[in-house]
């Protein structure tokens, strides 16, 4: 008897059929985008699902017209600054909450907690005028400074610090380490997996920011890739495949980053869901 006729076998076939059809559904928009980006402008209506007339011209033109090189540099600079700063500020403040006793600790922690409830979208109006008053419109400071610290990162790192045995801190004290030494030699190395997840999470959310860069980057040279795409899509509204080529250029690097750091991403995204 053929194995596939057993109920178990049929169930497996069914599962594969579902998996494959879901794969097709999910990849469909990505496929259409890729095909469109590699077609010349006048052939975009021809075989929208098949890679015919493949050319790099559309991508080249999108790169040039959308000023995407500059946008990629801007996005990278801002995302790197924000990521490094968020990890550092989170480590510092988490250390204070986890290892130091000081009057008002609960209160200050409560204030941190409260900031998690404030949606960024509710603060953009005022933040924009703050940034404008500081003369930071169209600048790296303007794009990065509001995000240099987050309560989320502080909580995440504090949670890890709290799981370190108390004896470890005391052993370090006996060995002669002060707080900064303990932070550098013991706490940070032991929190490294979490710090990696936090870094990837910060990088990704900064890279993907949309409202803020479109609000404060009014000159093309200060666009991030997201606000740059917006500008491209509005300028080339009648050239859809130019826009889609720009989208491919913007999407590609982050796809690669995530393929490399899949494990950290899972940790970062699930950090809030799985309690310690």
């Amino acid at each position: 008897m053929a194995t596939s006729t057993s109920p178990r076998g049929w169930r497996l076939v069914g599962r594969y059929a579902l998996l494959i059809s879901m794969t097709v559904l999910i990849l469909f928009p990505i496929w259409v985008m890729l095909v469109g980006a590699f077609k010349p402008g006048n052939k975009v209506l021809q075989d929208p699902l098949l890679p015919t007339n493949v050319t790099l011209d559309t991508l080249r033109q999108a790169w040039r017209d959308g000023n995407l090189g500059r946008s990629l540099v801007n996005s990278t600079v801002v995302a790197v600054i924000v990521t490094v700063a968020q990890v550092v500020t989170a480590v510092l403040s988490a250390y204070a909450f986890a290892f130091l006793k000081f009057p008002g600790r609960t209160l200050v922690f409560g204030v941190f907690l409260a900031t998690l409830l404030v949606p960024f979208e509710a603060t953009v109006v005022v933040n924009r005028s703050t940034v404008q008053d500081l003369g930071w419109l169209n600048s790296y400071q303007g794009l990065a400074v509001p995000f240099l610290a987050t309560a989320f990162g502080t909580f995440l790192v504090r949670q890890v610090f709290l799981t370190l045995p108390k004896d470890l801190r005391e052993a370090a004290r006996m060995d002669g380490l002060g707080h900064l030494g303990f932070l550098r030699e013991v706490a940070v190395p032991l929190a490294r997996p979490t710090l990696g997840a936090l870094a990837l999470f910060s990088f990704l959310s900064t890279w993907n920011q949309y409202l803020w860069p479109t609000t404060i980057s009014t000159e093309d040279d200060w666009n991030t890739v997201q606000s740059g795409l917006r500008v491209l899509s509005q300028a080339q509204i009648d050239k859809p495949n130019l826009v889609i080529a720009g989208t491919v250029i913007v999407a590609l690097p982050i796809f690669l980053v995530l393929l490399i750091f899949q494990r950290q991403l899972v940790r970062g995204l699930t950090a809030g869901a799985v309690k310690g």
Partner: protein, 342 residues
């Protein structure tokens, strides 16, 4: 090294520690001589660890003084006290190799790399760890980790060693072996040891002196033999010795009532004795046999050598005569629970 000539006696003056209104250590004064092996002994929660942590500098006294080598060190950071500590959990750095763990206190003190490697290797050799130097703590057995913790403590040759129940996470066999090694280590290092335990066997076998604590207070200080032979209080009498000393309410001394204590090994059987008892339970432990007796309303335990086959002599339910020889009796005041000398 310089410390060799230093006198590292530890003196505690009226030391008190209050945590959130709860007095953990209450007016403890204690002198620990240079090169002594002092055991702080007591049940959990009696304040012995807190005393140790105040000596190490991990806890600040609420009042009173800690003196090391004649100097008051209350406000001196642990780092400057020339004190090392071995923790119950060992507290090894999980991300560092054994070698790096042992070297670490030297690294913090700025010892050059070749020097500290050499010293770490020497300390590791002393404790038989040479072949594990490249491993991480997670790859070691409990006994090996404990040795790494010891090596990390001895590597910088401190004047005072503090140990907080370092053997309690080992199995019984390993604990017995390590006890002997610690005694040998103490003899070799010529440092002062302060050792916290709730295990009276560790106290009796390792200490040159034992300080028994209860509820934050010091009950008695003495050599293990003194503490066993002349317990200063009912608490000490019953805490040291297995099974504990029998304490019976009887008798009057100098017109005052008193309690009489007698250790199980000193209870004698004598058919002609006027003191009658009923055998309620017999426990054969191999090398010894425990006979539980009801003397009136009081339960008394007698210990008999294992090679005397008591099953032939006594059975549960038998009525026997017992004797408490005078020279083995301890007297305690029933109100203060302190020893009364006759």
């Amino acid at each position: 090294m310089a410390y060799c000539g230093a006198v590292a006696d530890v003196r505690l003056n009226a030391l008190t520690k209050v945590f959130d209104g709860v007095t953990a250590v209450d007016d403890v004064s204690l002198e620990i001589a240079d090169r002594d092996f002092m055991i702080l002994l007591g049940p959990s929660g009696c304040g012995k660890s807190t005393v140790l942590r105040m000596i190490a500098g991990l806890e600040d006294p609420t009042s009173g003084d800690v003196m090391i080598g004649g100097a008051r060190v209350n406000d001196v950071e642990p780092k400057q006290r020339d004190v090392a500590m071995v923790f119950q959990s060992y507290a090894l750095y999980p991300h560092k190799t054994v070698q790096a763990n042992i070297e670490f206190p030297l690294k913090v003190r700025g010892v050059s790399k070749p020097d500290r490697a050499a010293q770490a290797q020497r300390a590791a050799a002393t404790l038989g760890l040479t072949e594990y130097l490249d491993r991480k703590p997670g790859q070691l057995s409990g006994g090996q980790r404990q040795r790494v913790a010891l090596a990390r403590a001895i590597v910088r040759s401190p004047a005072v060693f503090c140990m907080d129940e370092p053997l309690s996470n080992l199995d019984a066999k390993l604990r017995g072996e390590t006890r002997a090694e610690l005694v040998a280590l103490h003899a070799r290092l010529s440092s002062t040891f302060v050792y916290v335990t709730h295990d009276q066997v560790e106290a009796m076998t390792m200490g040159t002196h034992v300080a028994v604590m209860s509820r934050g207070r010091l009950e008695q200080v003495g050599t293990p033999q003194e503490v066993y032979a002349r317990p200063a209080s009912v608490f000490v009498a019953q805490f040291i010795g297995t099974p504990p000393m029998n304490v019976l309410p009887m008798g009057v001394v100098f017109d005052r009532p008193f309690l009489v204590g007698v250790r199980p090994e000193h209870v004698e059987f004598d058919a002609s004795s006027s003191c009658r008892a009923t055998v309620s339970l017999i426990e054969h432990l191999g090398h010894e046999t425990l006979v539980h007796l009801d003397v009136g309303a009081t339960r008394v335990v007698a210990r008999v050598d294992g090679d005397r086959d008591t099953s032939l002599v006594h059975r549960v339910g038998d009525e026997v005569g017992v004797l408490f020889p005078d020279r083995h009796l301890h007297h305690f005041d029933p109100t203060t629970m302190k020893r009364v000398e006759q």
